[in-house]
Symmetry: D2
Subunit: 374 residues, 4 copies
């Protein structure tokens, strides 16, 4: 604490930037060097929203963008009236992708084949898992480029988002493999941008990273009219032309949605996740489909929700409290991190429906205004 005050004085930090954390500041050293205070981010709450039978999930959203909380809240109401949201977790694993250089393409080829072999995988798994109690290596995917090999390691990381765990395990596994089996190989970089971490890549869209989750609801058309004030047909038209066609026109990766990133960013900041991972954690394919004359099936498919319930910012008491709120009650057998990812998807679904409704209504209102002017 004295450090902090001295540093504030030395750096001329103005008093408008607060520093009176109401918890143990010293622990923050592992989160942030050269600490001079904190920035308070307003926290709003939307919901409740029934998810997988748990009827009372509230969504904590840190935002300074007016209308976001209200919009998600309206979506939650629609989903509540529709009977709630179901979710699925389709994949789970954090990745690290080093690059290794060899003397020629034949050596690189042999290393690749070894990584894909049972022997190779067993060796790598053993070395990897020697570095952590929780990390479980599930996949090793080599890809040769000239005389280099990029290898994507994927591991279950328990309650943690797991970047550090996977980095440590990967470093050990690769180093041992090179030492014992491929002395001609040289680890050029532990991250070869083949992970990929904190950038928009097709790799992650196609392969997934972190938790891959899907959330869905079946919604009566009359509820859409009641809550969103637009006919379902208008909602579908906006959806198709914006999310499917517009995103194709502007060539997006994971961008076939209305505004998933707004909800993901707000929850990530509230719950202590890494905000730079919003980039692909917000990849989202929103799907709306008329399933019969009276109902719409709505879903969001999010392959890269990178969250943890321990480690990093999730350790800070306020962030932890916000995460607890979003996790709600959960089954014993499921991880809290997994539940977080599922419930984020449900919140995104709420946000998607609400904004699509607003856009459809905006056009509707405008059309009426135009009519009246004439």
């Amino acid at each position: 604490m004295e450090d902090l005050k001295t540093r504030r004085r030395d750096k001329n930090i103005p008093q408008t930037i607060p520093f009176d954390f109401n918890y143990d500041v010293d622990e923050l050293k592992s989160n942030c060097e050269n600490l001079v205070g904190y920035i308070p981010i307003p926290l709003g709450v939307a919901g409740p929203i029934p998810i997988d039978g748990n009827s009372n999930i509230h969504v904590p959203l840190c935002t300074t963008e007016g209308a976001l909380v209200a919009s998600v809240n309206r979506g939650c109401k629609l989903l509540r009236l529709a009977g709630g949201v179901n979710t699925v977790l389709s994949s789970d694993g954090t990745t690290r992708g080093p690059v290794i250089n060899f003397g020629d393409i034949q050596q690189a080829h042999e290393f690749s084949k070894w990584c894909e072999s049972t022997d190779g995988f067993t060796f790598l798994k053993h070395a990897f898992e020697s570095t952590s109690r929780y990390g479980k290596l599930t996949q090793v995917k080599p890809r040769q480029a000239g005389k280099q090999v990029f290898v994507r390691f994927k591991a279950h990381t328990g309650e943690a988002m797991g970047m550090n765990m996977v980095s440590k395990g990967t470093l050990e596994a690769i180093s041992k493999a090179l030492e014992e089996h491929f002395p001609n190989g040289k680890l050029v970089s532990l991250s070869g941008n083949y992970c990929t971490d904190k950038r928009a890549s097709a790799m992650n869209w196609i392969e997934g990273r972190g938790k891959s989750v899907i959330a869905a609801a079946v919604i009566r058309k009359d509820l859409i009219m009641q809550i969103l004030h637009v006919p379902a047909s208008d909602l579908l038209q906006v959806y198709t032309q914006k999310c499917l066609i517009g995103s194709t026109m502007s060539m997006c990766i994971g961008g076939a949605n209305a505004h998933a990133a707004n909800i993901v960013a707000a929850i990530f900041i509230a719950t202590g996740q890494d905000p730079a991972q919003v980039i692909d954690s917000s990849y989202c394919l929103t799907l709306l489909e008329e399933i019969d004359d009276e109902h719409i099936h709505a879903s969001v498919t999010m392959p890269c929700v990178q969250v943890g319930s321990i480690g990093g910012g999730t350790q800070l008491p306020p962030q932890k409290a916000a995460a607890d709120m979003l996790i709600g009650n959960y089954l014993e057998e499921e991880s809290r991190a997994e539940r977080l990812a599922r419930n984020i998807a449900a919140a995104v679904l709420a946000g998607e429906l609400s904004l699509l409704g607003a856009l459809a209504e905006g056009s509707l209102v405008r059309a009426h205004m135009a009519l009246n002017r004439k």
Copy 2:
């Protein structure tokens, strides 16, 4: 304030989530509905870093990820010793891309041609600019898809990031154009995901959005050894194999960098920018080139830095103070928002060099360890 307390009670917000903002809470209503408190994000400071002749810029970074501030700080030291950073602003404009539906492809074609004509542009510009004192429409780019037309409006928005300004102007311009000239056209959605906002798109990578900035420095190789503890040749190898080749292997958009998103996210949160816009604000092409036997030319090219110095979260006193710190002294004739963007790029350059050095050093250390074990 009473609202806030009542809401906390109703929603069972735990005391670990603070609510004692030391500034006027009522103003927050325009930033965040259903306010229940705030989440404090630790603020660290890196620097100083000399930018465009201003020698004393400090970089405010909100993060819970250990090592980030220290890493950027090390990069700042290297850039200080190298004599500082120069920047360029190559483009500036916020965009909105509505989708309009027509009866057939011929009507859509006529509308597109009109948008591209001098008459059309003049009409649209007049209508657009009637809605704001600051917004100046600079480009209208239609693209037909079947019988729909997507139009990308681009405008200077002064000190504001400008999404609301551009939305308002675009709505007015399109509505008037349809009413007066194209009654068969129907505005389907004010955002047709052709803007694009808060998603990873090639559109923004290629066309730019917000401020397009470049920051560069010339660095003596011995400084790289002194500060980063690696030979320049190792730095270049890691750079090439990770940033250029690795990013190509995993097919990134704007991902040819080491970890630009970490720095951008931390600054965006500190300075009240929209964190969902980190997605493409962190697009970054890092370039390292040996320019002679003794020097490296290092640069970052960031086409989509979407920042403002007024509006949204930048109005909150702590965020504003952090933004002031990063802006530092600036020339009268340049905008504060522009200076913010330039200095963000300089901070990213610091972060890039530092992490690339660390990755190169990590491999180096590992190679030594391996040698020793044998």
Copy 3:
């Protein structure tokens, strides 16, 4: 001819590879060095198909893939019964994108700004157009990357596809600009992969290259049942899940179609176009939309159809005859190359509808078989 025979003997070319061109072999020297004969590609014909009021267009298709001609033919029949196809040309211009290196980012910035200025454009246009009677420079689009600048030159090239014309003009324009105005700039490569030519780029999808064309038809649902043997609703479902959603899942550029490339490749080979340009000439956004209870609106949007009616392979008599067939009668004021592009789009529309029908029917048949087995 004697050369050819000698070379065949020297290279041991087997007699199964024919060499009896029934036209002037010597002219071929400008098309193909080290000539040893020719490969005959079977030519089939589909149609006729009414396009823009011209009722009798036949589609020449060079293919060795069974079923392709028959499939396009079926689509032509559907479009004939539907009353034909309308087309639109939304843009036209061939591009070349050199890369120029400067001493620092400030110099590169000044060059970029100059390219965007009226003075700069006028200078470049004058120099460019001094190299050809037909090439008309229409756009110069610089983009800075560190201390390099990539510039995309776009020009109308009359009846030619125009790569050579644009290369020549660009070389002259850039060389003069550097000599007279930017002596510190160095032309590194006349093609900086910023054109882009013969590779899959988002640049071309977003900006277009060659002819950007759209073809559309309104089709009665009962005709879909009659010709394609599936209900329109099935066609729409296959379309949405394959072309829109599937292409998003696999992250395509310009891939939101059923099999546009098959038709484009077959026509390109038949009519002497450059087959390596099939890559983006086959970019196609297929759109099917129910416009009322009885009709479907179907369209293809193809931004990069790179064709010519003179130059390259189009000079060879058989290729020229095939091109004439596809061009048919055309209006005096339009170019033949433009008409070729429009009619290619119409043929693609035929192919799209037919294959989507076949896929829908296949699923239908399979469902029936499954029912029967039970």
Copy 4:
């Protein structure tokens, strides 16, 4: 043959389009419906080029683009002097990606999990392989999107490119699986654009399709000067700025090369491959690296070379003869199709070096001219 003559008369096919195939026309019916003749494509030959110890491979190139054969020929000479090319085959398999619809996300999830299970894979493999003697299912990769599942089937297809084989096997496997295990699932389309076939997808770039091959050579710098007339340093600069940086700027998939598509297209037409598959068969990462003061390591990495030595156009005698030329002598244990893919990569490497040299030399010449003018 009589059919053909009648059809020519009926369709007014001009005599300039030849029809005198000197082989059995009736067999062509399976390659091309509505046959009216053929288009002769000039065939040139480049080489020889030593590949994997076989010193005498000639490269057949069908092209109408002047300079291509000469350019590849020059590259072959350089590679000959450098001691030849080595190749690696890193993966092999053709794919088909159907889309299946379910009643809800839970059912879709169960199907996905089943596909990934040993039981599921065994079932699918058994059904798949019941349809062909040659097709061997090697991978089943499901990916859920809402209540749909896309599944990518990958199979070895022997000497055939294998699309038909894989389609047939996939249809049988999916149909059986739905009938016997997932009666609620509906096969919407046998191709869900998740294969992907004949379009530019990140999926194929990342996962590979057909043969994934790498070809490399070590080249003395003085040979580069001797044959390409440029210093190696200039070659490297053009390479880096064009292939690596330029392709990133224009956001390519598989486009980090000089002009791979030219060579691939020319060989595909010559050897009877499917020319629409040039799109991703020409995906190529070209890598040039200085490995010591005197040598450059040059390689091409091509993940999607989709070729066969039987079936389709490869059955036609002239095409077969051209394929035989490129295959040359080959080892008993390797497949001819595999050898074709490897040798295509070697030919592409020749073409890459030659064009990069020409671009570097062009800039050089230009610079000299500029100097002289002054």
